[in-house]
């Protein structure tokens, strides 16, 4: 008679089962093992917490505050933090707490857009260059070098001048200069992997280069690329904020944190909260990504097994 | 043999503390080494490498070591200070490892490393040490020692690299040499030469040798006595000459499952692991050990 599989007594047991019964169980089991490893590192967990809070803030913004980030109350300009305005108000009487919350959406937008552009481009260019070698490698690497040579801020200025200021253009500008290191990283990993026996076995089975790249090489390059991206995220957020500060990124009245720091500059001495609080937000989020990235690196490349 | 043993190990326990629990590497290992060739043979996970490292107290920080006795001619190793250990390592007990690629410093020449090994233990001058190093290179049968002196590790072959290791480890004239898989990375013809060399050197200097290997053939043909290790415990201790009359089923199984040139078989007998082997050290093993002392 066919046997019904025993019901596991808990999720945990199902996930750490030594003999997974399905692809799904195997894959989730692996993620769970990584999660357990990450959990052991309190700093990494704090980083993760910060990122999660950022995410939740962005999603649940309307529930976290009933005010609007654009409402100006000129009678309540530059009020210090109070029960009514937790972070005080800015020079146009807008509630800073609300603006911080809604500003997280912009930060998150930057994070996602840059990742979505940089990761695929870097991976594809890097793995193709690393796998095929020869003139293809040379051409792709020289192209990479060209983009690597552009300093990000100058590039953003150029874009702003050409296309006009705005957060989207700023993101494109950042992405265009951010992808080269990932291509390099992916290429280095690919070159190590391409002589490995399992790749040779795949070739002997008749797997096409596309299949080898997609199914074998890219999944193995992902961990180091993701770690790098998470660590870079801090820098990317800072640049976006910096662009905002310079007036090249988000435009008023957008509640972008860098922009908030910039417009609060003139009030720094007497009404410190206007510039400092968004500055703190930038710092905390960057730091959080940094901690998370460090933790992920330890999980993916454990030094002590 | 009423001579006092060089090294006495009694009831050695070593465990590694990991994130997911303790791993017991050695569970009550006991043996003695005189000025003889003792072979420790075991498969991966048997704990054989841990023995060598425990004797020299070179285990990583997460290792817990305990023993009723672990002494080198009277010096209790587990209770010795780090200073005492430094005077023992290299000077009284030396160790050579498997792959010279990993045990030689890649940025120093071969000669410099041998000379350094000498100066660490004797405070000799640089020129004196260099002379000794050259002499040592000759002793390990390297032709053209002056030329080899100034070569870097990556410029020498595997076999020569091992000779350099031997030179480095024997120059302070230790009494006991621990060799952990010294020939595993070498070709079979080079292996024979290297073993001959080790044999000559330890005979001449009246040293003791602990040869750790997974290769039963090697240990049986080269050593005087053999200690068979499995799961961190001693399964059997016997004289190499009596190896074919091994009593313990694990030893017998290991011997039987070797493919031999001179004995064609259609199928190799497979080793059936019996969980009762682990637990209390088998009485056969203990008796054999007592017999061979």
């Amino acid at each position: 008679m066919s046997e019904t599989p025993l019901r596991p007594t808990s999720w945990h047991e199902w996930l750490v089962a030594e003999a997974p019964q399905s692809r799904l169980q195997a894959r989730f089991g692996r993620w769970y093992a990584n999660w357990l490893a990450l959990k052991r590192n309190p700093l990494a967990v704090s980083g993760l917490l910060i990122v999660v809070v950022l995410f939740l803030m962005a999603v649940f913004a309307p529930w976290m505050t009933d005010k609007s980030p654009y409402d100006q109350m000129l009678t309540e300009r530059l009020q210090p933090p109070s029960a009514q305005h937790w972070f005080g108000t800015d020079e146009l009487g807008r509630d800073i707490f609300t603006r911080i919350i809604y500003g997280s959406r912009i930060t998150l937008l930057v994070v996602f857009l840059v990742s979505a552009i940089v990761l695929p481009i870097g991976l594809i260019v890097g793995t193709i260059a690393g796998y095929f070698g020869g003139w293809l490698d040379t051409i792709l690497m020289r192209v990479t070098d060209i983009f690597l040579a552009f300093p990000r801020l100058v590039m953003a200025l150029a874009f702003a001048a050409a296309l006009g200021p705005g957060i989207e253009n700023a993101v494109v500008a950042i992405s265009i200069t951010a992808w080269p290191p990932y291509a390099r990283l992916a290429r280095a990993e690919t070159m190590t992997l391409r002589g490995r026996d399992f790749i040779l076995a795949a070739r002997m089975q008749g797997a096409s280069a596309t299949r080898i790249l997609w199914s074998h090489i890219m999944p193995l390059c992902l961990p180091s690329v993701i770690v790098r991206l998470t660590l870079d995220m801090a820098g990317i957020i800072l640049i976006a904020a910096g662009l905002g500060f310079l007036g090249l990124g988000a435009q008023p009245p957008s509640p972008e944190w860098g922009l908030m720091v910039s417009s609060g500059r003139s009030y720094l001495l007497d009404q410190w909260w206007v510039a400092t609080i968004p500055g703190l937000a930038i710092f905390i989020v960057s730091f959080g990504f940094n901690l998370l990235g460090d933790g992920l690196r330890d999980v993916f490349d454990p030094r002590s097994q | 043999m009423k001579e006092r043993p060089l090294l006495t190990v009694e009831d050695l326990h070593v465990s590694y503390q990991g994130r997911s629990g303790n791993v017991l590497a050695l569970r009550g290992v006991s043996f003695e080494v005189h000025r003889e060739r003792l072979g420790i043979v075991g498969e991966s996970g048997s704990g054989k490498s841990t023995i060598g490292l425990s004797i020299l107290r070179l285990l990583p920080g997460n290792a817990r070591v305990s023993a009723r006795r672990l002494d080198l001619e009277g010096i209790e190793i587990l209770r010795a200070s780090e200073r005492t250990m430094r005077s023992i390592r290299g000077r009284r007990i030396s160790m050579i490892l498997q792959d010279p690629k990993f045990s030689l410093n890649p940025v120093l020449t071969v000669g410099q490393q041998i000379a350094e090994s000498y100066r660490v233990h004797t405070h000799a001058t640089k020129s004196e040490a260099n002379r000794k190093a050259l002499g040592m290179l000759e002793a390990v049968r390297i032709r053209d020692p002056e030329r080899v002196f100034s070569l870097y590790p990556h410029e020498v072959s595997g076999g020569m690299g091992q000779r350099v290791m031997i030179a480095m480890m024997l120059i302070p004239e230790p009494e006991l040499l621990i060799a952990d898989e010294p020939t595993s990375a070498l070709d079979v013809t080079v292996q024979a030469q290297l073993l001959e060399l080790i044999d000559e050197l330890i005979q001449r200097r009246r040293m003791g040798l602990i040869l750790i290997s997974h290769n039963m053939n090697l240990v049986a043909s080269f050593c005087d006595r053999i200690l068979v290790l499995y799961g961190g415990q001693v399964m059997e201790m016997l004289n190499a000459a009596d190896v074919s009359a091994a009593q313990h089923p694990y030893t017998q199984g290991l011997l039987a499952c070797r493919p031999l040139i001179e004995r064609p078989q259609s199928e190799l007998p497979q080793l059936k692991r019996d969980p009762t082997w682990l637990g209390v050290p088998s009485e056969i093993g203990v008796a054999a050990r007592d017999r061979s002392l």
Partner: protein, 255 residues
């Protein structure tokens, strides 16, 4: 079945020129188990890879079942020659489950009933459904090698190339794997070429043996001749003696 004539593999040029394999020729009949033995650097692995189509032939010709390597017309020709590699830790993709490792060749070669094939091949190499969805790091060295063998067999090849398949394994595990290879080879009437530095392993598995030194085949002889010390070339004797020296005390006071 396999014919190698004057195969030469040269890497690099000028001062960096390395003649890994020089002018080697031999034939292997269908169903035969042929051994390539020699010390490190003798070119045996390179020669095997040339037969596998993984190393480029500089000169000479290798044909399998009449078809020259390197001139495969269709992808389906590739499934006939498969290989088992030395390092069980490096021959499986650490990010793939056993299931994926085994189903991929079947999918690539567009074979039918992939599920059943995977199931069957697992059982053939002595593994079970409990191993199917594990990752390589959850398997022992011997188990990984079994998976590697299963992977090689799933496309139903006629030729199996073995590159030191047991060198990295414990003695007891080696015995199991060698027995498995013999069983599988007999059952499927596979033509096998095995490379090893271990003369004992080679003489256990192979019927005819080619001895290689510095890129050349110095002698080809039957295993019986080797056992009876009737080799003709001096290097074969050197190898044999060095290997036998280790076996000396197997029967006590020498035999």
């Amino acid at each position: 079945m396999i014919e190698v004539s004057e195969a030469t593999v040269v890497y690099g040029s000028g001062r960096g020129r390395l003649e890994a394999v020089r002018n080697t020729s031999f034939k292997v009949d269908k169903g035969e188990v042929f051994g390539l033995v020699g010390e490190s650097g003798c070119g045996k692995s390179t020669l095997l890879r040339a037969i596998a189509g993984l190393a480029p032939l500089t000169e000479g010709r290798i044909t399998v079942a009449g078809q020259a390597i390197g001139s495969y017309r269709e992808n389906s020709d590739r499934k006939l020659v498969q290989m088992v590699f030395q390092d069980p830790y490096g021959s499986l993709n650490p990010a793939h489950t056993v299931d994926k490792v085994l189903s991929e060749p079947a999918i690539v070669q567009k074979l039918r009933s992939v599920e059943q094939r995977v199931d069957r091949s697992l059982r053939e190499v002595g593994l079970g459904p409990e191993h199917r969805y594990r990752y390589p790091h959850q398997l022992s060295g011997g188990q990984r090698q079994r998976v590697a063998i299963a992977r090689a067999l799933i496309t139903e090849p006629t030729v199996l190339l073995l590159d030191e398949p047991t060198s990295a394994l414990d003695l007891s595990v080696q015995a199991e794997i060698l027995n498995l290879l013999k069983r599988v080879g007999r059952r499927r009437n596979l033509t096998m070429i095995m490379v090893s530095h271990d003369l004992a392993v080679i003489s256990h598995m192979c019927m005819r043996i080619a001895v290689m030194q510095e890129g050349e085949i110095v002698e080809v002889l039957g295993v019986d001749k080797l056992r009876n010390r009737q080799a003709t070339h001096s290097y074969t004797h050197v190898l044999l003696n060095a290997s036998l020296q280790m076996e000396e005390r197997k029967n006590g006071s020498g035999s």
